[in-house]
């Protein structure tokens, strides 16, 4: 019966961990995305949501795939070790995904903010500014 309990504990912790990370990213990443998309809040919200969906799919998929074990669990110690082992992998994957996301956002942001100021001040200012033609 150890193995069944181990599986349940593993699933419970991993899925909750995934949900917690996804929510944190969704909440804290929102402002970062708005900035990346030049203040286009609607687009940022849409991308944010899509990213969370992808995050859930990948992580819960990985959690499900990593569930299976050949180990024979005969005592509590082995059960704890197995769960810890599996959760360790899940956390590492979550961490890697998290940093990859940050990397992608930063790239987007750099591209968005790819507007370094002109390297010098203007020679003069025209007032009023030219009308669009």
């Amino acid at each position: 019966m150890y193995i069944v309990y181990s599986y349940f504990v593993y699933l419970f912790i991993s899925v909750n961990l995934t949900i917690w990370v996804a929510r944190t990213l969704h909440k804290r990443g929102a402002i970062f995305l708005v900035d990346s998309f030049h203040g286009n809040a609607e687009l940022a919200a849409s991308v944010n949501h899509l990213l969370v969906v992808g995050f859930y799919l990948i992580n819960i998929g990985f959690v499900a795939l990593a569930l299976k074990t050949e180990a024979v669990i005969g005592n509590t110690r082995a059960a704890i070790e197995l769960v810890s082992d599996k959760i360790g992998y899940v956390m590492l994957i979550l961490g890697a995904m998290h940093f990859f996301n940050l990397y992608v956002f930063t790239r987007i942001r750099h591209r968005g903010n790819g507007t370094p100021r002109p390297p010098f001040a203007p020679d003069a200012i025209l007032r009023p500014a030219p009308a669009r033609s």
Binding site: T115, P116, P122, D123, A124, I125, L126, A129, P130
Partner: protein, 155 residues
């Protein structure tokens, strides 16, 4: 800054050639080429006469910032996707006086860039110092009634 108005010298064949080059580049900022001294330029920028002479190359942003001559050349490069980094580099005090030469070199020969990547400012300056600027071939054919134009300054 969304648009840069480039007031180029329409009487100058070389300038027109460079204008064509500018317009086919990918750019971050929209480039609007306006013949200097034209009716359109005068109606858009009535106050410009007090700021710039007839021979100055003028670039004006949609916010009303005016850049003249060397600064204007650099601003044209700054608008281009591929040359913005170079614009920032060419703005160094050592290279700024050679902006015109740099612009012409870059627009004629893309290979120059790869050669410059490893070089320091001094080496680039030496190389640019040797660039001979063509004089404006259109000077003699300047239309009656248009003042200035003794040297080619527009794009």
């Amino acid at each position: 800054m969304k648009t840069l108005y480039v007031l180029y010298d329409e009487r100058c064949a070389l300038c027109k050639q460079l204008k064509e080059w500018l317009l086919v580049q990918r750019s971050w900022i929209g480039l609007s080429m306006i013949p200097a001294g034209s009716a359109r330029a005068k109606s858009m920028f009535p106050a410009l006469e007090k700021i710039a002479g007839a021979n100055d190359l003028v670039v004006i942003s949609d916010g009303g910032e005016v850049y003249l001559n060397n600064h204007a050349w650099i601003m044209c490069l700054y608008a281009l996707a591929e040359y913005r980094d170079w614009a920032l580099r060419l703005a160094s005090p050592l290279l700024l006086p050679l902006a015109r030469q740099a612009f012409e070199t870059l627009s004629k020969n893309r290979q120059t860039i790869s050669r410059w990547i490893g070089s320091d400012e001094r080496a680039i300056a030496t190389e640019l110092g040797e660039v001979a600027l063509d004089t404006c071939p259109a000077q003699s054919t300047k239309p009656v009634g248009v003042e200035g134009g003794s040297k080619c300054s527009g794009v």
